[in-house]
Symmetry: C2
Subunit: 421 residues, 2 copies
């Protein structure tokens, strides 16, 4: 090895440590709920955000395109979905990734002006991450990317009831420490992406005393509480916003090869890298291996990997801490040994540990975090992503695991070499 | 082996399977909270119940004796603790084990007429098990066996506020399925004796909608909710009552060598065996190995193994499912491998699995239950009990593990041979 390449390597290692350190120092606090138009600095009434890397309207997968079109109608930007399509093609309605507006969106990730967003601020850096609220308990309520009269009713309820009730409770409480919830939940079988049972209970318990003193009508509060009691995955939206607030601080560290974004739109898997700023590197999204919740569906009914929820793996949770959540192995007919092996493998492609996130099943070894694109290429090990599975017609119909496609990492490393070598 | 001894062995195996089956079929539902005088059929105003096997006043350990004396004063049976002692010696105040009155009591287990008890009924057999309510979050509130003005205030609060508020909520809800809570909690890192974080959250979540509609003053409900939010061990008292309701059904099966009671009074460890009815077999209680929560205490400050909470091990939880709760290894400087080994060892001294109680860390292997005194003697493996540690002056000051002394099993097996061989 030449002296010059050794110097570059040292410089990269140093930069990556800085990024890891930012992740370790992040202090995410859920402090508010606001409509996207108020929560996101660059949001406009004619913008519709979506999950994943940038994608043209024509290339979008069915649930995402349907979601965008219906959101345009819901926001009064078009009288029907056909008109919405024409307005988008004409540039009268702007499409953009949530990620470029300081937000993240689960599954199709459709976020329009009125969508209520959970807002999490990192107390250390001031960076804010936002996420749409969890759409509703599985099987009971339609998701944001399933479109019919019931869905529109549910969006209205989220805007007019749940959003305001949660806003009031979280403001009255004066914020909630998401890091503490995550750390505790890892001791309780959650990996905070596909399994959120403990974190959702912890959030509910944290909010309950404030819900009881809500300024809103008893019936609004009761409805919100019933939703929270039933929504075992509710906390994911708060964890995602927290992840986004941490990931914002990881960005733009010169010479760093650490990934600052993993996301997918059902067509492409996209990554961004700290030392390469806002540039996207994409490759076709993989199929998700897992369990479909009803025998009425099969593999032909679902879209490939979709959603911004891979922000959890970006910050060292989800698939990276599989060993903490052996219950999830039921989705993939796996075993505890397999779960442990995955976490050990993720250690090989990451920069170091998150000290506060410990895994009891590994004798309290810490979570591995800050994925290094060099290590992915060197080992051939690709990030494991826990994720839900979306139906082509919209809605969550299953859950399982997938892996990031290696081509994004190859493209990113090539760009990195061109820039820094 | 003679034909006769083979026939006896078969008969015992059959009897033990019946007992295990009763445990598998139990369906505990928390349905009420009532003062002991109303909850327990044979309770009288001049009876004071305590944890563990029967013990004379003079032999009681300090916190238990103090607890009894102060409870007598609290109930108006004596004007001071000296008079209480004389009344007990004169037989004017009756002492008895909780276990003989259909109840269980954590730590010293002091239960007097006004003590509010959680009541759990097995829907299959109708058997009712009762337990005093959890005394308060560790370090914040005194326990039932720590005695000063603050303690008396807390007992009054339990009787006048928490008891009635919980009674109202659980009646309004129409009962709560404790088996479902336990099964879920095992997926979330609880073993339901020393770790109750998940089950307490699940109970709180189950009660919250009903607390919100309480008939009581907002301030009473708010106080009760604050207590529940802070009391990570609250669910233990409900789990113990559920365990008792199941254990009642395990009793009195002719020829069965299965243990139906494990309990301790800080001096003696006592067991009862199904085929031997209500007879107690005792041996000196062991020291508890574990962590004291503050450096102000040391091993000389604490009493040996105490409390009826070993009802959890009686029904196959707690120490028996250590592998489900690796976080507890922190109390004993253990490891995940050690936790797994303990559960595997408990399999060697038990009759079979509890089908509904699964351990994700063991690829969903079921909990081992129904301890067979023959197997304990044959293998030399004694039951592992997770437990809190009590200070000599009362109150919980630590947590750890201990083992049942083998001498109780020897005595019981001798009695069994005399009766059946």
């Amino acid at each position: 090895m030449t002296e010059k390449s050794q110097a570059l390597r040292d410089r990269i290692d140093q930069a990556n440590k800085i990024v890891l350190n930012k992740l370790n120092e992040s202090r995410p606090v859920w402090f508010d709920v606001q409509p996207a138009i108020e929560a996101l600095p660059n949001m406009t009434r004619d913008t519709i955000l979506h999950a994943g890397p940038p994608i043209e309207w024509e290339r979008m997968c069915e649930p995402q395109r349907n979601g965008v079109a219906h959101a345009a109608v819901f926001e009064g930007l078009a009288k029907d979905t056909a008109e919405a399509g024409r307005a988008i093609q004409a540039g009268a309605i702007r499409l953009a990734p949530c990620h470029e507006f300081g937000a993240v969106g689960g599954m199709a990730g459709i976020t329009s002006a009125s969508t209520p967003l959970a807002m999490v601020r990192c107390e250390k850096t001031g960076a804010v991450g936002c996420s749409q609220l969890f759409q509703g308990p599985r099987g009971q309520l339609p998701s944001r990317d399933a479109y019919d009269r019931e869905a529109a009713k549910q969006w209205r309820w989220l805007s007019e009831v749940l959003g305001p009730v949660l806003q009031d409770a979280i403001r009255a409480k004066g914020g909630l420490d998401v890091r503490a919830v995550t750390a505790k939940a890892l001791q309780m079988g959650d990996e905070c992406h596909n399994r959120n049972s403990a974190s959702s209970l912890l959030l509910l318990t944290g909010l309950a005393p404030w819900l009881m003193q809500s300024k809103f009508d008893a019936s609004m509060v009761r409805d919100s509480l019933s939703y929270l009691v039933a929504a075992e995955q509710f906390s994911l939206c708060i964890s995602m916003a927290a992840g986004k607030s941490a990931a914002e601080a990881m960005k733009n560290v010169s010479h760093s090869t650490v990934v600052t974004t993993f996301c997918r739109n059902g067509v492409d898997f996209g990554i961004r890298v700290s030392g390469l700023g806002d540039q996207w590197f994409v490759a076709p999204a993989n199929k998700v291996n897992g369990l479909l919740f009803s025998s009425e569906w099969n593999d032909d009914d679902v879209v490939p990997d979709m959603g911004d929820s891979a922000i959890m793996e970006t910050v060292g949770l989800g698939g990276y801490v599989q060993a903490a959540a052996p219950a999830l192995q039921q989705f993939v007919s796996g075993s505890f040994v397999r779960a442990k092996r995955i976490t050990e493998e993720m250690r090989e492609i990451t920069t170091g540990p998150i000290d506060d996130y410990r895994i009891p099943n590994l004798d309290f070894a810490p979570a591995p975090a800050a994925t290094d694109i060099r290590k992915v290429i060197r080992t051939g090990i690709t990030p494991v992503i826990d994720t839900a599975i979306a139906h082509k017609k919209g809605g969550v119909v299953g859950a399982g695991q997938t892996q990031a496609p290696i081509d994004c990492f190859k493209k990113a490393l090539r760009a990195f070499s061109e820039r820094y070598a």
